[in-house]
C-alpha cells in the first residue's frame, strides 16, 4: 500500500511516499533556510507563498524519486494543523485537490501526533509511552496509548523551547537557526557558568514555561559583557536550564504514571545534548528513552504518511471538508 504524506505547517514544504509502514520511497523537504537566514527567522507570508510556488514541483519530484505515478497512490495524508494557518491551508488544499482528482481517500492528521509517532517509521514502540514534542513552534507532552489514542499531559504556557532559543540567538545576532547555533556554541561551553532559573520545574503539573528563562537571559546579557571568551559558557548554561526542565518534568510524568518509555520528537529532539540528558537520567529511573532520527525530527512528510497509513488501515479517513486549524486544544 502506498501513502503520500504532505506537511506545510511551517517553513518547509515536505512530501514523502511511504510503502506500507516503513519503506520510504522518497522524502522531499524543501529547506527554506537560505531564504530565511536573511530575515533571522521564518517570515510567514514568504513561507506560505513559497509553499504555493514549490508544492506542485515537489509533488512531481516526490513521485519521480519514488518511481511511481500519482494514480498508484492509495491514500493522501496531510497535516491539517496546528501550524501557521496560511501555510497549513496550502498543503491541505493541495491534498484535497489530489484526493478529488485521483479518487483516493484524504487522511488529515495532527502535526503534533505525527511528530510523536514518527519513530514508527524506524521501529515499533510498545504502548503506552510518554511523547515529548519540542520544536520552534511547540512544546507539548502527550500520553500515547495507541495510534489516535492520546491525551495532552502538559504544554508550554508561553514560548516554545525552540522559539526561546531562536529569539535569544536573534537578539544576540549570532545566527539562524538559533537552536543549532546555540547547540554548537554550547558544546564548547561550561554548563554551570550562569545559574539560570528552571521555570516551573517543581510545580506539580506537566506544563512548561520558557519566557521567564528568556527574560533572565536578556537581563544577564544587559548586565554583562558578552565576549568570545564567555559566549559559549553563557549559551551552554542557557541551553542546560531549558533541557533540565524538559527532562525533569517528562521523566516525572513517566514516574507518576508508571510508564517505562519516553519518546522525544520535534526539531529540538535532534539536539545532541538533549538526547544525552534524557538517556542518562532515564537510565537512573529504568526508563527507556527513544528518539526519532534527526531527519524525522524536523518537519517532514514521512511522519505524516506514517500516521496516515495507520489511520487508513483502521478505516479512518477524512471528508473533503476537513478544516485546517492553527492551535491545538490543550484541555
Amino acid at each position: 500500500m502506498l501513502v503520500l504524506g504532505i506537511d506545510t505547517s511551517c517553513d518547509d514544504t515536505s512530501l514523502a511516499l511511504l510503502r506500507d509502514d516503513k519503506t520510504l520511497l522518497s522524502n522531499v523537504v524543501s529547506s527554506q533556510v537560505d531564504l530565511h537566514r536573511v530575515f533571522g527567522g521564518v517570515v510567514p507570508e514568504i513561507a506560505s507563498r513559497k509553499h504555493i510556488e514549490l508544492i506542485d514541483g515537489l509533488y512531481k519530484e516526490t513521485l519521480k524519486e519514488g518511481g511511481i505515478s500519482g494514480s498508484s497512490v492509495d491514500g493522501i495524508g496531510v497535516t491539517a494543523g496546528p501550524g501557521l494557518i496560511g501555510s497549513v491551508l496550502v498543503g491541505l488544499c493541495f491534498a484535497k485537490g489530489l484526493a478529488l482528482s485521483l479518487g483516493k481517500p484524504l487522511i488529515a492528521v495532527n502535526h503534533i501526533e505525527a511528530h510523536a509517532m514518527s519513530i514508527f517509521l524506524e521501529r515499533e514502540v510498545e504502548f503506552p509511552f510518554i511523547a515529548l514534542v519540542v520544536s520552534g513552534g511547540h512544546t507539548i507532552m502527550l500520553l500515547i496509548r495507541g495510534f489516535g489514542k492520546y491525551q495532552v499531559l502538559g504544554s508550554t504556557r508561553d514560548d516554545a523551547a525552540g522559539e526561546a532559543f531562536d529569539k535569544i540567538a536573534k537578539y544576540l545576532g549570532i545566527g539562524y537557526p538559533g537552536g543549532k547555533v546555540i547547540e554548537n556554541l554550547s558544546a564548547k561551553g561550561q554548563r554551570d557558568y550562569v545559574a539560570f532559573p528552571r521555570p516551573m520545574i517543581d510545580e506539580k503539573n506537566y506544563d512548561f514555561s520558557f519566557s521567564g528563562l528568556k527574560t533572565s537571559m536578556i537581563n544577564y546579557i544587559k548586565k554583562h559583557d558578552i565576549t568570545d571568551d564567555n559566549l559559549n559558557d553563557i549559551m551552554a548554561s542557557f541551553q542546560e536550564a531549558a533541557f533540565d526542565v524538559l527532562a525533569s518534568k517528562t521523566i516525572r510524568a513517566a514516574r507518576d504514571l508508571e510508564i517505562s518509555r519516553i519518546v522525544v520528537g520535534g526539531g529540538v529532539a535532534s539536539n545532541g545534548r538533549l538526547r544525552q540528558i534524557f538517556v542518562e537520567r532515564c537510565r537512573e529511573d529504568d526508563i527507556e528513552a527513544l528518539f526519532s532520527s534527526p531527519e524525522f525530527c524536523t518537519d517532514n512528510g514521512a511522519m505524516v504518511a506514517r500516521l496516515a497509513y495507520q489511520y487508513y488501515l483502521e478505516g479512518t479517513t477524512s471528508s473533503l471538508n476537513a478544516a485546517g486549524f492553527s492551535r491545538m486544544k490543550i484541555h
Binding site: 494557518i85 514560548d159 516554545a160 527574560t215 492553527s326 484541555h331
Partner: protein, 139 residues
C-alpha cells in the same frame, strides 16, 4: 487623549493589569502592544484573555510561530497577533481588521506595522529586571 499608567512588579501582576484591560475591552478595539523582547507582551495578552473570560487563558501562548491565535471569550473572541517574524511590512496580508467584528485584537510587535487612527497603544517599558511600566494611550 487619555493616558493611563500602571506599574507591574512581576509577570502575574502583568496578568492582573491585562485582566483590567480585558474586562473593559469592547468589540472592535485593537490594542497595539509595544515592548522589547522579554518585556512581557504575551503575559499582558494572557491577562487580557483572563479579563475577557477565556477559559484556558493560562495557555495563551506566544503566536510568534503561528502568527495569529483566536481565543473564545465570554462574550466575544480575542484575536492574538504577533508580528515578530514579519519584517517586510506585509501586515496588509493579515487583514486583522476583519476580526474586529468578532471581538478584540491584540497585536504584539505592533511597531512592525502601520496602524489606523483610533487603535489603543500599549507600551511596556522595562524599568528593572522584573519591573515594568505599562502605559495605555487612547487617542
Amino acid at each position: 487623549m487619555e493616558k493611563k499608567e500602571f506599574t507591574s512588579k512581576s509577570p502575574s501582576e502583568t496578568w492582573d493589569i491585562g485582566a483590567l484591560i480585558g474586562e473593559k475591552a469592547m468589540r472592535g478595539e485593537l490594542y497595539a502592544i509595544y515592548g522589547d523582547l522579554g518585556a512581557g507582551k504575551t503575559q499582558l495578552v494572557k491577562g487580557i484573555a483572563r479579563g475577557m473570560g477565556v477559559e484556558d487563558w493560562l495557555y495563551v501562548v506566544s503566536p510568534s510561530f503561528t502568527l495569529m491565535n483566536i481565543y473564545e471569550g465570554r462574550e466575544m473572541n480575542l484575536c492574538h497577533v504577533d508580528l515578530y517574524r514579519v519584517e517586510g511590512g506585509e501586515n496588509g496580508d493579515l487583514n486583522v481588521e476583519e476580526f474586529l467584528d468578532e471581538g478584540v485584537v491584540a497585536v504584539e510587535w505592533a511597531e512592525r506595522a502601520v496602524w489606523w487612527d483610533g487603535v489603543i497603544k500599549v507600551y511596556i517599558d522595562s524599568t528593572g529586571e522584573e519591573e515594568r511600566k505599562i502605559t495605555i494611550v487612547r487617542e
